[in-house]
Point group: C2
DNA sequence: AAAATAGTGTCTTTAAGACAATATAAA
DNA sequence: TTTATATTGTCTTAAAGACACTATTTT
């Protein structure tokens, strides 16, 4: 049943939504915007928008990232998740969305772009457990995206993507602890990171927090795959 | 630029394609159909078709599976892959496709359905290396799907999905060897499978091949996740 | 007995788990 | 010297890698 004249039965609107995570104040945060347009006007939602006829979905995600959020620094789009396609997920017309996951280092706060009234970092757990209401089925997308990031920490070195250009092993451990929601043994964690070639490389420099022994600073080490993987314990699994 | 009157700029056709794998004659095979419709009429392609306005993409994939292939027995749709969305991937109009991966036990040959002239199992490596030509960007989809299955053998127990209802440890090892393209040590493989609770469960029965000691028969053991994972060696990685 | 296939056992090596002690800075 | 944080070390345990031998069937 076409809803507009000339529209074929199979024609569908395609959007892309981006779940951008960072670590702020010891919590995993996801970037949400306050929608300027209907439906769900003034409601919180993931940044995103329509895929145009002359661009692929990845290009659309990149474009929306800039238009709506003015994300500062290096934001790393990781992967595409399973599309959301339930026929009534948009109350007005048939829309399928292609979700992406991205991670950003803990830097400054992004500014609202042209299509958004406001841009904020929101506690990801709050979105998943429902205490923060979001538009459409974006709660499910955030849940899928969070689980995707959790799983990727096991088998890849993307945890460095949450860190600034230079970071300590303690910073990196905090990423794992925050995303997985568990505590890790600092001794075993150091051994794992430093014995995995390509995970990090030393800078020679060190960083003083004012008190205590200064920590050595490292950079991301080029290797993308973590082998053998760093496995979560049973309690930290979804 | 709308191509039909009343069509909005953002309206896009959405299809789904299914890469169904099985193991036949010692090779990883993918199910292809010979297309009845244009474009690429009479060419080999993955089974698939348009997503209708009242169904989600998974339902569309299930429906197409029946319409085009009459797949016998239990075919297990595993996962959705990253969509293909390059604007010119379909020569006529804008089409985004949502690919799925499925595995089927080595059983009988499927029959062609209403939308296909022919249905055949084709060597997956031949499709990926280009010696078998396929329509659209289906070569890339088969490549992605094959890598997805290879990776899933590491961390899940889906290898049993390639086997008949009852199978031997040797059958299961052949699945790993065929999909990964390497040889595995039978002793270490047996130890891994039998020491992983929930991977397989014994039936008590045994199967005689006519010559040699009969092999014990097992069934899939309920557990879906393989922990710790069975990791590929470096040579068998994509 | 010979041939063919299935299944089991041991030693080594790697890496994670579970622990406490030492090092380096500022106050 | 006290306090705070970073870093290193050892013993144990789990599991994979690399091997050869025994078991059960048919011919």
């Amino acid at each position: 049943m076409a809803e507009r004249p000339g529209m074929l039965d199979e024609d569908i609107r395609v959007t892309t939504d981006i779940a951008i995570f960072t670590i702020l104040e010891g919590h995993l945060k996801v970037l949400l915007i306050r929608r300027r347009d209907t439906p769900f006007r003034n409601k919180l939602a993931l940044p995103g928008g329509h895929v145009r006829r002359n661009e692929d979905v990845k290009s659309a995600a990149d474009r929306e990232l800039g238009e709506e959020t003015n994300i500062p620094g290096k934001t790393l789009i990781l992967d595409q998740l399973a599309v959301k396609s339930e026929p009534k997920r948009d109350p007005r017309t048939r829309v399928i969305t292609v979700p992406f996951v991205a991670i950003a280092p803990d830097v400054s706060t992004p500014k609202a772009g042209s299509d958004a009234l406001e841009v904020t970092w929101v506690d990801a757990d709050g979105v998943v457990d429902g205490s923060v209401k979001v538009a459409f089925d974006h709660r499910e997308i955030v849940r899928d995206a969070r689980e995707h990031v959790r799983a990727k920490l096991e088998s890849t070195t993307i945890a460095t993507g949450f860190c600034a250009d230079e970071f300590t092993i303690g910073d990196l451990r905090t990423v794992y602890e925050t995303v997985w929601g568990i505590q890790l043994d600092p001794r075993n964690f150091n051994r794992k990171v430093l014995h995995t070639i390509g995970f990090v490389k030393p800078t020679g420099k060190q960083r003083s927090t004012g008190l205590g022994r200064p920590a050595m600073l490292y950079r991301a080490g080029g290797e993308k795959i973590l082998r053998p993987p760093m496995l979560r314990t049973e309690e930290s699994r979804g």
